[in-house]
């Protein structure tokens, strides 16, 4: 029987590497941070019970989504930063690349593993957050129904509508999706940095720097384009920041969604498209550098 011909590109191989990456990350107990998230959500919910329901819901949403954003970003950076150094350290990379596995498949598989991990984390955190918010909303609705049981129907409806307006809204899902996209972008960028970084610490350090500069990129871009800076040194610096770093501020729309701002579908689609575009570009750059890396 003749062996199956080797294909230049195989989804099967990518999925196999992704699956192994995911299993490896799960074994490293990265999901422990979910416990921390649960503590933040449930803890803030209990602590805020002394405030009015509008204040409680507002803070619960802000704290939960803020925690979700920071946890996914940190997870994306830490989980990705260790992929290549660890494979080199325990020599797994040699075993894989000695086989007819193209390097871009190896990188794609690794990235896909991290993205699945981020996806699972976001789903679990969202489920927990929605459950806590829903339970609190139902409790407060029940209390209001009891308090207004003797009041006219109009007053009861007003009170219940006020509570529902402050509670769980489906729009939040769009905010969660953007949080996930931001984490994917950070994972792809971390992968790119880790292809030329000498140590894991260096990658993490660079990414923390990128994270903060990325949030200020929009300011640098506007200063540069509106010619507000003086001197060529300043202008060059601002141009480099604007051109090299991603605009992470664009992905911070969740605060406005919580505040009740309706994000148009077109704006959401453009933000998502920009995020996907960044992921593709950084993955291509990582592949390009990784092909030249001596392993």
């Amino acid at each position: 029987m003749e062996p199956a011909p080797h294909r230049g590109f195989s989804f099967g191989r990518i999925f196999a590497i992704a699956s192994n990456t995911l299993t490896d990350l799960v074994r490293q107990k990265v999901f422990l941070f979910l416990l921390l998230f649960a503590l933040v959500v449930i803890g803030s919910s209990v602590f805020m019970a002394r405030l009015s329901f509008q204040q409680e819901f507002q803070i619960l949403k802000d704290v939960s989504l803020g925690a979700m954003s920071i946890f996914t970003s940190v997870l994306a950076i830490l989980a990705t930063a260790r992929l290549i150094p660890r494979d080199i350290e325990d020599r797994t990379v040699y075993t894989i690349l000695a086989k007819p596995v193209p390097r871009f498949e190896y990188l794609l598989g690794k990235l896909l593993g991290v993205l699945v991990l981020l996806g699972i984390s976001v789903v679990v955190m969202s489920a927990l957050f929605f459950a806590v918010l829903y339970l609190r909303e139902q409790t407060i609705l029940g209390e209001a129904a009891r308090q207004f049981s003797a009041a006219p129907r109009e007053q009861l409806d007003d009170a219940l509508n006020q509570i529902r307006a402050s509670g769980l809204k489906i729009d939040i899902v769009a905010g969660v999706a953007v949080i996930f996209l931001k984490a994917c972008l950070l994972a792809a960028l971390t992968l790119f940095v880790s292809t030329f970084a000498t140590t894991q610490i260096f990658t993490v350090f660079v990414m923390v720097f990128v994270y903060f500069i990325g949030h200020l990129q929009a300011a640098a871009r506007e200063y540069w384009l509106e010619q507000q800076s003086t001197g060529w040194v300043g202008k060059t610096f601002l141009a480099l920041v604007a051109l090299t770093f991603p605009d992470l501020q664009t992905f911070n729309i969740v605060d406005e969604i919580v505040a009740g701002v309706v994000i148009p579908l077109a704006l959401f689609a453009k933000t998502a498209l920009l995020g996907i575009f960044y992921v593709v570009v950084y993955t291509l750059a990582a592949t390009f550098v990784f092909y030249g890396k001596e392993v």
Partner: protein
């Protein structure tokens, strides 16, 4: 190493390509007042660390933290601090009506009452002056809140209440209730309250009567005791012919 340099050069080239799209998206977001926290005013108020934190995706969390600080200051009746924290909170989260409303309530209702009852100030005239200053601060919070959230009925309702209860300005109270009434999420009583307030305005009784009568005719659900009372008062005041008046047994 040359590959790294080439990759960074490619990213720079990509940067040139992405720039127009990124800027257009940013401008579009700014039109919705999203992510527009890069103003110098905010930096001055928050300090560098808070500003960086706000820009790093923790804006809402920073605002909540400051809100809790304001809440603690309120529990300690430290009104200067309450104002200080709320100014920061509303600068950070201008699209959250709750913060504007709470800030205004603390200033116009709590701080103003504390100022009037301030035993450390022996002169009543100065107490009243301080009270009025707090009314003005509360009003300013609500007006700026409305400017940032023009579709939010809660802020118009709070401003109407402030005009009615604290400033004794029924005309403006009526206007605010009228503005709130057609907005999504408004209370069902806003239309009625607007007419009630108008009925207290000298010279606008006829208009108030017509609006109250229209509400009365709209159906049973609008015929609440206050509406009927105000309507009867205006019927007497305007000398409405008996055949056009509402039933004596309406109440």
């Amino acid at each position: 190493m040359s590959r790294v340099v080439l990759a960074i050069a490619a990213l720079l080239a990509f940067g040139v390509l992405k720039l127009p799209a990124e800027r257009a998206l940013s401008l579009q977001q700014r039109q919705l007042q999203i992510a527009d926290v890069m103003n110098l005013d905010l930096r001055e108020k928050l300090g560098q660390l808070g500003f960086i934190a706000a820009l790093s995706g923790f804006r809402a969390a920073v605002a909540d933290f400051l809100f809790i600080q304001a809440h603690v200051a309120w529990e300690r009746t430290e009104w200067g601090r309450v104002l200080f924290w709320f100014r920061q909170v509303t600068t950070l989260q201008p699209r959250v009506p709750l913060f504007w409303d709470m800030a205004a309530w603390h200033m116009a209702w709590n701080a103003s009452a504390a100022a009037l009852n301030d035993s450390s100030q022996p002169r009543m005239a100065l107490r009243v002056k301080a009270q009025r200053e707090y009314f003005a601060i509360g009003k300013d919070f609500l007006e700026r809140g409305i400017k940032n959230n023009p579709d939010e009925p809660q802020l118009y309702e709070s401003l109407a209440l402030l005009y009615r209860e604290k400033l004794n300005d029924h005309e403006h109270a009526s206007e605010c209730y009228a503005k709130a009434a057609p907005l999504s999420g408004a209370h069902s009583y806003d239309r009625r309250f607007s007419a009630y307030e108008l009925s207290y305005c000298e010279g606008r009784e006829r208009e108030a009567y017509e609006r109250l009568r229209a509400l009365y005719d709209a159906g049973e659900q609008e015929r609440v005791p206050t509406l009927i009372k105000r309507l009867k008062f205006l019927e007497d005041k305007l000398g409405i012919p008996p055949e056009q008046r509402i039933s004596e047994n309406a109440l």
